[in-house]
Symmetry: C2
Subunit: 447 residues, 2 copies
Amino acid sequence: MQKEKDVAIVGSGLVGSLLAIFLRKQGHKVTVFDRRPDVRKVQFSGRSINLAMSNRGWKALREAGVEEEIRGLALPLDKRAMHVEGQPVYFQKYGEEGEAIYSISRGVLNRKMIDLAENAGAKFKFEEKIWDVDMKEARLYTGESEKSVWKEYKFDLIFGADGAFSRVRHKMQRQSRFNYSQHFIDVGYKELTILANEDGSHRLDNSSFHIWPRGNFMLIAMPNLDGTFTCTLFMPFEGEVSFESIKTEQDADAFFENYFPDIKDEISNLKKDFFKNPTSAMVTIKCFPWSYYDKITLVGDSAHAIVPFYGQGMNAGFEDISVLNDKMNKYGDDWEQIFEEYQTERKPNADAIAELSYRNFVEMSSKTADPMFLLRKKIEKKFAQEHPELWTPLYSRVTFSDKAYADALKIGDYQRGIMDQVMEIPHIEEKWDSEEVEKEIIKLIKK
Amino acid sequence: MQKEKDVAIVGSGLVGSLLAIFLRKQGHKVTVFDRRPDVRKVQFSGRSINLAMSNRGWKALREAGVEEEIRGLALPLDKRAMHVEGQPVYFQKYGEEGEAIYSISRGVLNRKMIDLAENAGAKFKFEEKIWDVDMKEARLYTGESEKSVWKEYKFDLIFGADGAFSRVRHKMQRQSRFNYSQHFIDVGYKELTILANEDGSHRLDNSSFHIWPRGNFMLIAMPNLDGTFTCTLFMPFEGEVSFESIKTEQDADAFFENYFPDIKDEISNLKKDFFKNPTSAMVTIKCFPWSYYDKITLVGDSAHAIVPFYGQGMNAGFEDISVLNDKMNKYGDDWEQIFEEYQTERKPNADAIAELSYRNFVEMSSKTADPMFLLRKKIEKKFAQEHPELWTPLYSRVTFSDKAYADALKIGDYQRGIMDQVMEIPHIEEKWDSEEVEKEIIKLIKK
């Protein structure tokens, strides 16, 4: 246990709440600020992709001692259900027997995490917005507005868990030599819902992650405990088929009927959501340094917001906290060392999962219909099943392990190089499952 | 001439002042805001690299009708003077006969540009800081401090010419889908001075750009009209030989004596500056979009700050204004179209000169001592001299032409590919000036 510190966490989201639990266990006084109202007392806003908890997330929850409490809120998905145009649905297992990602509603999880942090003794201050941070003195300034009279708080440590548009990072960004980038993709997303059957059951298979890939746009659906599915439509903001191009009810009817005939019963509901819910943008944010001496550090999206196409945003944020906790155990009260080693270890991993997530966006939107790409995946999968000691697929390394993201990226690139060569084998379409190909892959690995 | 608009320019630097002249010529009412005092009434701050005006800069000044007024303030430099350790100084001509870059003091130029803009009828408001911008309504808010009572101004158009840390861009950055990056290099700079001889003459050749390349650091010197040289020491912030490592007068003595023996008479003066002047950071800033409908656009460093190693920062900013003026002439009062076409045309060029400037930093700091690199430059130069119709060196294309930076980058990459192959010719060191090599280059170009 460390010497007690008076700690502020800015942001009561998933990562902030988890950090609060860990810091309470380490014996600190914890105050969590959030500019928004208590999420437990408001309706959800209809703009959050359902979350996919995987190994890294569960590991951090386990270390915090709250894994079991969360398990009950999540539905395991062990496969993708691919709804390719003009073909029957087909299923792709994510990993080996027993491996699954877990669908969980952001709102449901966030409420629970705040409960757990409060039970652990953290104090929450909702609807109190941070306007300024005195980095040297670890002071926070809150108030009604930027120009109102501000209230001043003095802490020993401040954690910025305030998301992609972090106010704490905004202050750090004013320093010379602070590197920063925000890059938006030209695709937006909109949340839609597929209702439950009248008896409360799910309309689609509820242990699958459903995907309707449609070239440069796609729909996904993840099941909730109440029988509904949270769907997300990813589509370019502008262009021929785009959010901009769907202006009227007729446009929406035609769009859903044309591209998603297998859920056409749901069209009136989907259409309603389409015009009710906002279209949101997606951004990759990178920055460095994350820490300011022994006073301030950033965690989760405020340090490394990523696009959601690998389902790793929350998992990466939770892993930050797990790593921070390891450093606390290792360095005791030397907070400068804790923050320094935390950021040095996490930065390359955050960059790697940002890159992998962006690549998955490109892959999901443009390649899922390419037969040669699907063949490549099939060859890789078969080989991995037969030679698990030689080949762990990239997806498994990211999703079902807690090995460094940076290593996953590096090994993934190496594997891609091998597969590029395999795909060059003449008539690979015909002999992809032959012993010749298998031997060739082994030869390439051992080279 | 356009319909008169009430225009605000934020920033009275070089680009802001030039824009004021152009806008006055187009018949607009122009108010220039600057948070700093009038540069004509204060001492310079000792932290500006001397500027190198080249073709693009002169072209814009010519179009503004002020070229001749500025020519008198500048000294032509037609060559580099290389002060390589342990070798006599040697000279490298920049271009062909009559081609030169022009050394000019930022302060001297800025004072003159403000005079010229004022004479043209622009109104300047110094020491008035912008705190907020209402983008939709083109309003500016100024005041003593962020929390003081603000003064509101309403304009038709606002131009952000407020430099790398632009307040106008800062406001635009809050929009969704605004891409932005700031990347600092690990090298800092410090301004030093070499004094004039007692008779007012220059101590070093005054038609040369002087460089002392020293591996991962370097000193440069550019002459001023008064017989002095403005020197800039570029050096890593941290590390073995670094700004951080020079702490005492003894450290500084040893540093200058060790690395710059040919200017050792100047050491006490250089040392004095070393501890007096600040160490500054260098940043590449990219963003997009630059414009907000028909209301706001960014020009110069606020849109595209670059590292100074190609001597193109001011030239690129002046070229922005030249292009803007072309669009005003083309589209009359359609400001949305003017801003749209301006940003679409300039963005790839700004990215290209950012890339070229960064590459020059890498090249100047690490390659100027590599004999194979120097040989490559020699081969290229000889070929360009003998076949000017087949080969314009990249440096000339950037510095002595007004062709697009993006094309210079592209053609430069193509030429580099050819030179890579030339350098692979066996025994190239011995036969670099042979007809065989010349013919090989021609063959590679025609391929």
